[in-house]
């Protein structure tokens, strides 16, 4: 029996990680192109609300998902316009949009609070779902969960194994070099920011039409997840596979917190739910500490084998952001 609870829990982790995956991969693509879309938190809420509202009004789930993507693309377009064309601070614009979209979601979503709506049913893959232990765990997810896994693989192949992916990395890393090789840097940045925003937007309806079906306004518990997605993007070192690992780790820790709940009835569930955050801070610390000056200075004082050992560990953990992240590029 105990095994079963854990297996069901782990299946739940796959589902719970799906929306985070969409957001993190979307943000990864946008940041690879050199644009931070800091609006993610509000964007997901607005897309979740829009997706649910459209799905309720049209009773069509696909239109709901499309609505979420359109919202995400539009918000990303504003970020792109303000930062790429107008050269305003990406952080400033993104932060304003994060708050603005959140308030828009709660304001416009008010009439849809608590309404019954359509939700995605899980897709049972015939035959395979009957495999003992693994079957119910892996092959009774809804289609979005499968899509989220495919997205990770596709994004990885695109970024690292294709020519457009090479150019994408180029415009985030050394835009002037990419420009000299004939890439229209700013136009591509627009394209990837909007594509990234659409993927982040997908995360919204994945919540409101699947994982946490419905629109519950401020008590939906979605507020904050966008910020998590941004942290996981860094944790993932702008690499889709590593980002996916971060998303699953986060979803697992949240599930584990809930799993521990019955053992600690005195601790409110919200407390255990935030357990991943201190861990997130710690991992960000480990990812970044190798780049700081004082660590390098300290390492220089150690004897050779120790120094090499520690710096190898630090290097394997560390991740450097795209060199031109947040820096506008002037083509003229």
């Amino acid at each position: 029996m105990a095994d079963n609870i854990i297996l069901i829990g782990l299946a739940g982790v796959l589902t719970a990680a799906a929306p985070i995956l969409f957001a993190v991969i979307g943000e990864t693509i946008s940041e690879r192109a050199g644009v931070i879309n800091l609006s993610v938190n509000g964007l997901i809420l607005l897309a979740a609300m829009a997706g649910f509202a459209v799905a309720v009004n049209t009773t069509n789930l696909i239109l709901g998902f499309l609505a979420g993507m359109v919202v995400g693309g539009l918000v990303a377009l504003v970020v792109a316009f303000c930062s790429i064309t107008l050269h305003q601070s990406q952080v400033a614009v993104g932060f304003v949009l994060a708050l603005l979209c959140r308030d828009l979601a709660y304001f416009l979503g008010n009439p849809y609070m608590g309404l019954p709506g359509p939700r995605l049913s899980s897709l049972h893959i015939p035959v395979l779902e009957n495999i003992p232990i693994l079957g119910p765990f892996l092959f009774r997810q809804d289609i979005i969960t499968y899509l989220s896994i495919l997205l990770v693989i596709a994004a990885y192949i695109f970024i690292y194994k294709t020519r457009p992916g090479l150019i994408l990395r180029g415009i985030g890393e050394r835009p002037s070099a990419a420009f000299a090789r004939g890439a229209n840097v700013n136009r591509l940045r627009y394209v990837y920011t909007v594509i990234g925003g659409m993927l982040v937007g997908m995360a919204g309806p994945v919540y409101s039409l699947s994982v946490k079906a419905g629109w519950k306004g401020t008590i939906s518990g979605l507020d904050g997840l966008g910020w998590i997605a941004l942290s996981i993007t860094i944790f993932g070192g702008w690499n889709p596979i590593r980002a996916a690992f971060g998303a699953y780790l986060f979803a697992f820790l949240q599930w584990f917190g809930l799993y521990l709940q019955p053992q600690m009835p005195n601790i409110p569930s919200q407390v255990l739910q935030v357990a991943p955050f201190p861990l997130m801070i710690l991992t960000l610390l480990f990812v970044n500490i190798g780049n700081t000056e004082w660590v390098n200075r300290m390492l220089a004082g150690l004897n050779e084998p120790t120094r090499r050992f520690i710096s190898r560990i630090l290097r394997s953990l560390s991740a450097k952001p795209p060199a031109s992240l947040g820096v506008p590029f002037d083509q003229e």
């Binding site: 304003v96 601790i267 935030v274 960000l284 004082w294």
Partner: protein
């Protein structure tokens, strides 16, 4: 271009930004089928129609301006202290903690209030130091370190409210047991407002205005913010200044949290920071980091918050409309400013 013409042009662009913000908010109201004029009228009367509502504007203004002036310091150093929400929360926790400790002692109430406010400032500063240390020694971007610490602070509050500081009987989202009236910051008769907290708010504006404008500290801080590498080469101890800016901001944020406890809620509640930290970031951006303007814009934003309270009751609209207007204002001022700079550059 003559100087007066340039100033007129600047004001014109600013006004255009405000107009566009109102226009878009109106479109949103029309989209939801709400009557825009009646909505705006309700916000204005809600914020200014009576002595009581005006005093409520100040109840919001004080913590908001405290957060804002603190943020002006970190902004000057080029840092995005998004962790300010958590710093406000920790201020409230420390304040509540000290009051609880001294509750049944013979310490005079006024001294308890004074000490608890100091404790609150300490709490805010500790949380800010943590974010600052993560940034300067850990290489963790202050945005993400601060965000994580915000969530931890919220969880800490909830744990206290439902755990060790639970109300006698069962814990509830309404917060901890309220303090006796002798431990409240003295209020104006019949109003929720306290002149003492108002005084602290005004004092904070003056201090930060002077500090950023006419001290060596302010100058060096701005040098760090403008060009950290150049500042370092000129002999400014950059990381020390960054840490200091975090600590100063944390002190003010902690004070805001303390005010929320001793002057507004008289207990610890789950959402004690009320989003004033994030709102303060908007205000600081809108005033282009000038302390004096911050006082007025913060009052306007506070009035919007108070004015919108009636919306759900009278018009069945969500009160987040005030947030939409607040956000739209900053967004369009940013956009219009960007357009203006592009146009000017083209002409040169």
């Amino acid at each position: 271009m003559s100087k007066s013409r340039k100033i007129l042009l600047d004001i014109g662009f600013q006004l255009l930004g405000v107009l566009l913000a109102v226009l878009f908010t109106t479109l949103i109201l029309l989209f939801t089928g709400a009557p825009p004029l009646q909505t705006y009228k309700l916000i204005i009367t809600g914020a200014f129609s009576s002595l009581n509502s005006i005093s409520n504007d100040f109840v919001v203004w004080v913590p908001l301006i405290l957060a804002t002036v603190g943020l002006l310091v970190t902004f000057s150093a080029g840092l995005w202290n998004i962790g300010i929400e958590g710093q406000i929360t920790l201020g409230a926790i420390f304040t509540t903690g000290l009051i609880r400790m001294l509750l049944d002692t013979s310490v005079p109430p006024l001294l308890i209030i004074f000490l608890s406010i100091l404790a609150g400032m300490l709490g805010g500063a500790i949380w800010a130091t943590l974010a600052g240390a993560l940034k300067t020694f850990g290489g963790v971007n202050e945005i993400f370190g601060g965000l994580g610490l915000n969530f931890v602070a919220t969880a800490f509050t909830l744990w206290l409210i439902f755990g060790p500081w639970q109300r006698p009987g069962v814990g509830s989202m309404s917060g901890t047991e309220p303090f006796p009236e002798s431990l409240w910051l003295p209020q104006l008769p019949g109003l929720r407002m306290s002149l003492w907290s108002l005084l602290l708010g005004i004092l904070a504006v003056v201090i930060i205005y002077m500090m950023l404008r006419s001290t060596y500290f302010g100058l060096k801080l701005k040098a760090v913010g403008k060009n950290i590498r150049a500042a370092f080469l000129l002999g400014v101890p950059t990381w020390q200044y960054m840490m200091l800016s975090f600590i100063v901001c944390g002190l003010f944020a902690g004070l805001a949290g303390a005010i929320q406890v001793v002057a507004v809620y008289h207990r610890l509640i789950p959402s004690i920071s009320s989003g004033y930290g994030f709102l303060g970031l908007l205000v600081a951006m809108l005033v282009n980091y000038q302390a004096i303007w911050a006082a007025f814009i913060a009052f306007f934003y506070a009035a919007l918050n108070i004015g919108a309270i009636q919306l759900p009751i009278v018009l069945k609209l969500d009160s987040t409309l005030s947030g939409i207007l607040q956000g739209m204002l900053v967004l369009f001022v940013l956009i219009v400013d960007g357009v203006r700079q592009r146009l000017l550059k083209k002409r040169v």
